[in-house]
């Protein structure tokens, strides 16, 4: 019935496992090396500082300044986190401390659906709802002229996209705090809010910061949805109502001409390398932050 005997099957299975494991373990390094080799052409001609801090982007003239894209990415990410962070923290506290268990049973599928909606659909929703809202209502109401395609639109769509990711981590963190710690604070005469403010949030703080960090890293690399609503204009935004351009959008928008302009492919790969570096860096830092979790 079997082609191989037991010992042979064991060898085959084990080898298969080890090969797969090696492939996966070396994946981050492979990615890094692959992208580095492609962008080395650009790094050969320009210094890293030039590339990052130069403001002029004219690939056909051989000018590759990534500064506007980096700044655009930072704007979009930071504004998105300013929405996501408080919303997620408040919600996580509410559903773990104030509501009955059945409420979490409503929240979990809702979070799952939000997490499952594809990036392109978020982008489409942004175009349908958020962009017109900003150009027709929010902008005029605040006395700002805006097309709607803006840093703010991108940030808002992005903030919704990372909510399920951050919220899931936060709910887990708050649920993992033992009830007895809460009881200890309450038995001292603390009110529920004092318990949350002074004890629970403090206990969870490293985890909360890490959750925000992971969210930030995720937001930084998000491509399609941002690309669809951010406006894609290469210039330094002066306010959140200005259009901007982000690193992932740069890559996604220009892959078509990549091979027709000299060094352009190298430049786009360098952008991907930057994204990879930022993502790895943030995740690393947050990981070590969590390792030091139980300081108190």
């Amino acid at each position: 019935m079997y082609l191989l005997n037991r010992a042979q099957r064991h060898t085959v299975n084990t080898t298969w496992m080890i090969i797969s494991l090696l492939l996966v373990a070396f994946l981050p390094f492979l990615l890094f090396i692959g992208l580095y080799l492609k962008s080395v052409l650009l790094l050969h001609d320009y210094s890293l500082g030039d590339l990052i801090f130069s403001k002029i982007w004219k690939p056909s003239a051989g000018k590759f300044g990534f500064y506007p894209f980096i700044v655009g990415s930072i704007w979009v990410t930071v504004v998105a986190m300013m929405i996501t962070a408080p919303v997620c923290l408040l919600t996580a506290i509410y559903v773990t401390q104030y509501t009955k268990k059945f409420f979490l049973r409503i929240m979990h599928p809702a979070i799952d659906i939000l997490a499952g909606i594809p990036s392109v659909v978020y982008g489409l929703w942004g175009i349908l709802v958020i962009v017109p809202f900003i150009s027709r209502y929010l902008g005029p109401w605040l006395g700002v002229k805006t097309m709607g395609y803006s840093i703010l639109a991108a940030s808002f769509v992005l903030s919704i996209m990372i909510i399920p990711f951050v919220l899931n981590i936060l709910i887990e963190i708050f649920r993992s705090i033992p009830t007895e710690l809460k009881e200890a604070a309450l038995s001292l005469g603390a009110t529920q809010w004092q318990t949350i403010k002074h004890v629970l949030v403090k206990k969870a703080l490293p985890g909360i910061i890490a959750a925000f960090g992971f969210g930030l890293a995720r937001a930084f690399g998000e491509t399609m949805a941002v690309l669809m609503v951010v406006g894609n204009v290469v210039r330094l935004p002066k306010s959140v109502f200005d259009p901007g351009y982000t690193l992932p959008a740069l890559i996604a928008n220009n892959y078509g001409e990549m091979l027709s302009i000299p060094k352009y492919d190298s430049a786009l790969m360098f952008a991907a390398l930057l994204l990879l570096a930022v993502s790895l860096f943030f995740n690393l830092v947050m990981h070590f932050f969590i390792v030091r979790y139980n300081k108190y």
Binding site: A184, S187, L188
Partner: protein, 253 residues
């Protein structure tokens, strides 16, 4: 109410859904004595303790009925002053749960909740309570360290000091030595011995020897019911009920 009775529990019933955790519990707990609630695990001892300082409020599935009188106030009816009420009682749980703060602030936080904001007084009282809990000498130089760096026995004494810092009249202790090494357990028992004249202590345990060593009064519970209660001599020396005899004889656990 009897002059010397501090807590009087009348017809206390607790349901979790359809299961009844406490059945018609009637207990009188005398003032400034150590009352030990004894019984095998799962007999509702911990729930009883949580009723006393209304931590049952945290569990919406629990239905509590009956009366618990502390100094002529039915605490089950308390609404607004529940925080004050909890400050009448210091709690010591099975495992120590230090607050995520420094050693010093663990006590100072309790003092703050009591309304003490003067720094010098805070300082004096932190020292006082740490001494009372038999901890001061060991940690006087480490006050600014996170409380989690203490050993588990030290943490439990810190929790006791924190419980005393709210200036309670009652101390509730839920198997406070079950997670501790013998020496730390002894420290805690000694501390209880010194506190017995000033505080009404309610101690839950399933360790018979511990009950014998420190109890003034014993309440024996089994499956949510009070089987027998009385002074330590009565219950241990001359148990009236069959179940008590079996338990004391070690037949069931």
């Amino acid at each position: 109410m009897d002059q010397d009775t501090k807590i009087e529990i009348r017809d206390l019933n607790v349901f979790a859904g359809k299961t009844q955790i406490l059945k018609n519990v009637n207990i009188e707990i005398p003032k400034n004595k150590i009352t030990v609630i004894l019984g095998p695990s799962g007999c509702g001892k911990t729930t009883l303790l949580k009723c006393l300082n209304r931590l049952t409020d945290l569990y919406p599935e629990l239905k509590v009925s009956g009366r618990i009188m502390i100094d002529d106030n039915n605490i089950l009816e308390a609404k607004e002053d529940i925080y004050k009420l909890r400050q009448q009682m210091g709690l010591l749980s099975q495992r120590p749960y230090p607050l995520p703060m420094t050693i010093y602030n663990n006590i100072a936080y309790a003092l703050k909740l009591r309304g003490i904001r003067n720094r010098r007084e805070t300082h004096k009282l932190v020292m006082h309570y740490l001494q009372q809990a038999n901890l001061w000498d060991e940690i006087r130089t480490r006050l600014r360290e996170p409380a989690s760096r203490l050993s588990i026995g030290q943490q439990q004494r810190l929790c006791l000091a924190r419980g005393l810092a709210v200036n309670p009249e009652i101390i509730l202790a839920d198997e406070p030595t079950s997670a501790l090494d013998p020496i730390s357990s002894q420290f805690i028992e000694e501390t209880f011995g010194r506190l017995r004249n000033d505080y009404t202590i309610v101690l839950v345990t399933h360790v018979l020897r511990q009950a014998k060593r420190i109890a003034d009064n014993v309440v024996f519970m089994y499956l949510g019911e009070v089987i027998e209660q009385g002074s330590v001599e009565e219950v241990f020396g001359n148990p009236k009920m069959e179940k008590t005899k079996l338990y004391l004889g070690g037949t069931f656990n």
